[in-house]
Symmetry: C2
Subunit: 337 residues, 2 copies
C-alpha cells in the first residue's frame, strides 16, 4: 500500500538563531518508503508544537543533537498505525512519540514513546495534558519542587499548556497558587478555569511588587518557564527553603552570547533555596505512572485543559514563534491534513 501514500512534510530548510520562524521551514511532499522488516507506518493525526523545538532547531549545545537541515522538523505527534511488519504494533493502535512534522512516519518503534492508553479520551490529549505537558507539570512540580500543603506555588506562563497543569496539580496538593500571565483574558482563564488563587499580569503590573503582595510569606515553590525579567522579580521574594524548577526559557530569545541578568547566587544563599533544571525526557520510564494519575484527574474534572488547534501543514512553519509571542491560547497543536 505504501506506493500510493504521499507524505506531506514540514522540513527545516534553514538554520534559525533563536526562535524558528516561518521562513526557516518548507512544506514539501515525498513518497513514503517501503516498509522494512520490523517497521510500521503511523498516520499522524496531530503534531505538537512545543517550546523545546526552538532548542532542537538551533545549532547550540542541547540535550539532543540539532535537527538536520533538510529533515522533517522533530516534534511529538500522535497517530494511528495503518500498516505494520512489527509484531509489537498492530493496525489500529494509537501511538505517540517523536514522529516529526510529517503526515506518515515509518519507524521500527524506536521513536515511539508509548501506545496511548486512554481510549475513552481524545487522542490529542496524548500531546498535551496526558503527554509531554502534563508529565512535565507532574514531575517538574512534584519531584523537583515537592510542594507541601499550605505552601505558596508561583507559576510563570500560568495559562499555558504546562503552567495550567502545574497550577491545578498544586491546588490538588492543597497549595496556594499564584499565576503569572500576559493578558487580562488569560488572567481570567487562570482564575476561572485553572483555579489560581492570585493572578499577575506581567505586562501591566510591577511583577516584583505584585509577587510580594500575593505571597506575603514568600514564594515556597516557583515553577519557571521564562528565565527572564519575570523570573528575576520572583527570585526577590523567596521563602526560606524555596525550590525553583527551571523548566523552560521562553523569555530568552537568544543564547549566544549567554544573556546577562541579575545574579541569583545571593538570593539562593539567603533563602537556602534550590534551583534545578528539569527535562521531562529524563522521566521516560515513568511516563505511564504520571499519565494514569493525570488521566484520572481529567476524568473527574479536577484537571482541565485548553487546546489551540491550527489546521494543516501550512500552519506549522509559523507555529513555534506563536509560543514565544504568547499568541496561543492553550496547548498548541496542528491537525494533520
Amino acid at each position: 500500500m505504501t506506493e500510493t501514500l504521499v507524505n506531506k512534510r514540514v522540513i527545516l530548510s534553514d538554520r534559525p538563531k533563536g526562535v524558528p520562524l516561518a521562513e526557516h521551514f518548507t512544506v514539501d511532499e515525498a513518497p513514503v518508503p517501503e516498509l522494512g522488516d520490523n517497521q510500521f507506518i503511523v498516520k499522524n493525526a496531530f503534531w505538537s508544537v512545543d517550546p523545546a523545538m526552538r532548542g532542537w532547531a538551533n545549532d547550540a549545545p542541547n540535550y539532543l543533537p540539532p535537527v538536520e537541515i533538510g529533515s522533517p522538523m522533530r516534534s511529538f505527534a500522535v497517530g494511528e498505525v495503518v500498516a505494520s511488519r512489527n509484531p509489537d504494533y498492530a493496525e489500529g493502535d494509537t501511538v505517540t512519540g517523536m514522529l516529526g512534522w510529517q503526515r506518515y512516519t515509518v519507524t521500527d518503534g524506536s521513536n515511539v514513546d508509548r501506545k496511548v492508553s486512554h481510549p475513552d479520551l481524545p487522542s490529542s490529549l496524548a500531546l498535551g495534558v496526558l503527554g509531554l505537558n502534563g508529565v512535565t507539570a507532574y514531575y517538574g512540580l512534584l519531584d523537583v519542587c515537592d510542594p507541601q500543603p499550605g505552601e505558596t506555588v508561583v507559576v510563570s506562563t500560568a495559562a499555558g499548556a504546562v503552567g495550567s497543569a502545574v497550577g491545578q496539580i498544586a491546588k490538588i496538593k492543597e497549595c496556594r497558587t499564584v499565576g503569572i500571565t500576559s493578558s487580562a483574558e488569560k488572567g481570567a482563564l487562570c482564575r476561572d478555569t485553572f483555579g489560581y488563587d492570585e493572578v499577575i499580569n506581567y505586562r501591566t503590573e510591577d511583577v516584583s511588587a505584585a509577587v510580594k503582595a500575593a505571597c506575603p510569606d514568600g514564594v515556597d515553590c516557583y515553577f519557571d518557564n521564562t528565565c527572564g525579567p519575570i523570573s528575576d522579580a520572583v527570585m526577590q521574594h523567596l521563602a526560606l527553603g524555596a525550590r525553583i524548577t527551571i523548566c523552560g526559557t521562553a523569555a530568552l530569545t537568544d543564547w549566544d552570547p549567554i544573556p546577562q541578568g541579575p545574579r541569583v547566587h545571593r538570593q539562593l544563599m539567603v533563602a537556602r533555596a534550590r534551583m534545578q533544571g528539569f527535562l521531562v525526557l529524563d522521566y521516560k520510564e515513568r511516563f505511564g505512572e504520571a499519565i494514569s494519575v493525570l488521566a484520572d484527574w481529567v476524568r473527574d474534572g479536577r484537571l482541565v485543559h485548553n487546546e489551540h488547534v491550527l489546521e494543516g501543514a501550512d500552519a506549522a512553519p509559523g507555529a513555534i514563534s506563536m509560543l514565544y509571542n504568547g499568541l496561543n491560547t492553550g496547548k498548541l497543536l496542528i491537525r494533520v491534513d
Copy 2:
C-alpha cells in the same frame, strides 16, 4: 572579680556598604558588667574572621539582623569560662559561639554554640577546621553536593579555610578534585598540602579553558565561594546532573543593586543541574556529629589545615577586607590581647 576586668572591644562604628574596612571599626575599652543570675564570663582566646561578617555588618536583607552601630562586631570566638553563675558552665570550660570581637563576653549561654570537645587539639581549631569552616565544608559538600566516588569536584577559594577542607573531604570520598586559587604559592599549597589533583590559577589562566581541560567529563560537583567570573566559567562545563553548592559570594563586593552576570538558567536546564544555597547555621543541631568525624580525620592526618593568626584587637578592623583581597594564607584568626 568583674570590677577589675577591662573589656577591650572592636566596635562597628560606621555602616559599610559592601566589604567592611578598617575605617568602619573603633577599638575601645569598657568595664565588664556584673554577672547576673545564670550568666558567666568567657575570656576569649581567639576571634574568628569570616566572610559572613560582611553580610552581618551591612544593612541589607540577610539571615541575621545587621550588627547595630556601637556594638562589638558579631563574630565567632573561642575562650575559657573565668567566672560563672550558670550551673551548666564551670570555670575552666572551653566554649565557642558568637561571642563577638571583645576580650570578655558576658552571656547566659544563649550565644554559646558548644563546649569544645577535643581537649587534645588546640582550641583555635574550634574556629576553623573543627568549627564553622570544617562543618561548612562537611555539610555543604556532603549534604548538598553528595559527591560519589570517581566524580569530579571543583572547589573555588581552594586554599581557603573552607575550600581546603572541601577538597580534602572530597578526596576522602574518593573523588577527583580540582582547586581554583589565586596564586602559584596557593596553588602549590593546594597540590602538595591539600592533595588536589588539578589546580587552576584564576589570575593567570583562562578559567573556562582550564576547567574544561581539568574536567574532561564535566564538573559533577562545584563548591562555590565566589559567585563571580570564576563561577561563570565553571558553570559552562557542568556534567549531567551536576550539583552546585552556593556557600559564599566572595567575588561580589556589593549587593545593591544586584550585580549582573551571565544567566545560569539554561546551563542548569541542559545539565539538569541543581544549584543550592547553603548556610552552616542551619545545621547547628548537627555540628557535634560533623566535628567528631572531622576531629578523627585531623588526628589521623587525613585533614590538615593552615591558620593565619593576627595579633591583638588592633589588627581586627582591617581583617575582614583581607579575606576579600586574598591576603590571608589559611583560616584567619585574631589572638585576643
